[in-house]
Symmetry: C2
Subunit: 246 residues, 2 copies
Amino acid sequence: MTDTPLLSPAELEAALRAIGAERYHNLHPFHRRLHSGGCTRAQVQAWALNRYYYQASIPAKDASLIVKLPTADLRREWRRRLVDHDGDAPGTGGVARWLKLAEGTGLDRAYVESTAGLLPATRFAVDAYVAFVRDRPILEGIASSLTEMFSPTIIAERVAGMLAHYDWITRDTLAYFTPRLTQAPRDVEFALGYVREHARTPAAQQAVLAALRFKCDVLWSQLDALDYAYVSPGHIPPGAFVPPAS
Amino acid sequence: MTDTPLLSPAELEAALRAIGAERYHNLHPFHRRLHSGGCTRAQVQAWALNRYYYQASIPAKDASLIVKLPTADLRREWRRRLVDHDGDAPGTGGVARWLKLAEGTGLDRAYVESTAGLLPATRFAVDAYVAFVRDRPILEGIASSLTEMFSPTIIAERVAGMLAHYDWITRDTLAYFTPRLTQAPRDVEFALGYVREHARTPAAQQAVLAALRFKCDVLWSQLDALDYAYVSPGHIPPGAFVPPAS
């Protein structure tokens, strides 16, 4: 890294956006299949079931970052994410809304919460994300959240596509996504501002870019595992969710 | 688990062997393809490259267990594994022999060692294994090594199959596997004896069985990722090894 140049904040942001343009999971074949109506109900169930583990682990990831934040201002800022995901009362918040989505695909709520049918690759990828934020410096943990820069587009595509193509999915089932359209840009505003301000050496900037690449890998590999296990027959790993014959 | 019966040591061993019969990665389609000559050279390279990260991480896994072992006798027993993998001099030991295998498939040694072309799913699975042994009780860490009960058969199949089917692979390239045929049974003798003796409650026995299932998932998911990325076209994740056009 000795010859790596120091980027201006605007150049750093452009480099972050370029990573999204190459590696964000909206480019994955499974996502295109999901949004275009090409998934069976069983495949949508497998997606909802596996992604539940990601959603349910986000508060642990955010709390791992709060552990390290040195000021009340910073902790309060990041605490909003806990509120978004865990809500203010039973049945509210993003995790509860994801459970409702999973139930809306026909899955049993207790089975989803048990994570018993998870693909091992989902567990390994999500646990790697929580461990990354726990073990790395604050700057990298915050940078790893920046996939949210790219999420409003995918959410809009996903909701419109799923409502248009799956007659058994309702707007109510997809209620998870509505608040994300305002929460994600608000979260990005803080996180991107923090990264632009604090990544002031070439090494820190390279670490920030690597953190975003890592997070893209976390999301991408979850779709690889779904695509492998549930699209062509005979690939469901031992112990994972087997859709009921339809 | 309140109604889980206490198993005799022989019953516990039988339950462990039953897990291998259902979940060990010799049953995976990629392994059958590899041994039967159905892989391209690029696919064998991808296997060698990715599995290098597993091999290179085993000493960290074993050292994580040694950290917890309370007696010199136990630590000395487990230290043999460090010797097996890291050798007694540069160029000796299992990790060095795996590098030689990877070079024998035509890969550049420095590229393999860099792990730059690794599938993210490989990294996540292997890191999950190291974290498991670091974070769980000794008994579960030892139990997770018991996939070695099933390895002599797969090694014999693999070496014979690969020598018969790939004319560019030599016995020398596969030298990694020869000492494993004696090391693995010796290691199993200790680890299985330890588990039979120390898993004395239904809860401990269930934890031991879960540890072996977990380890089978670690191995299986690595082959899922290889099979997905390198068998049908268009699935190599961003940043991973792209075989040269042949």
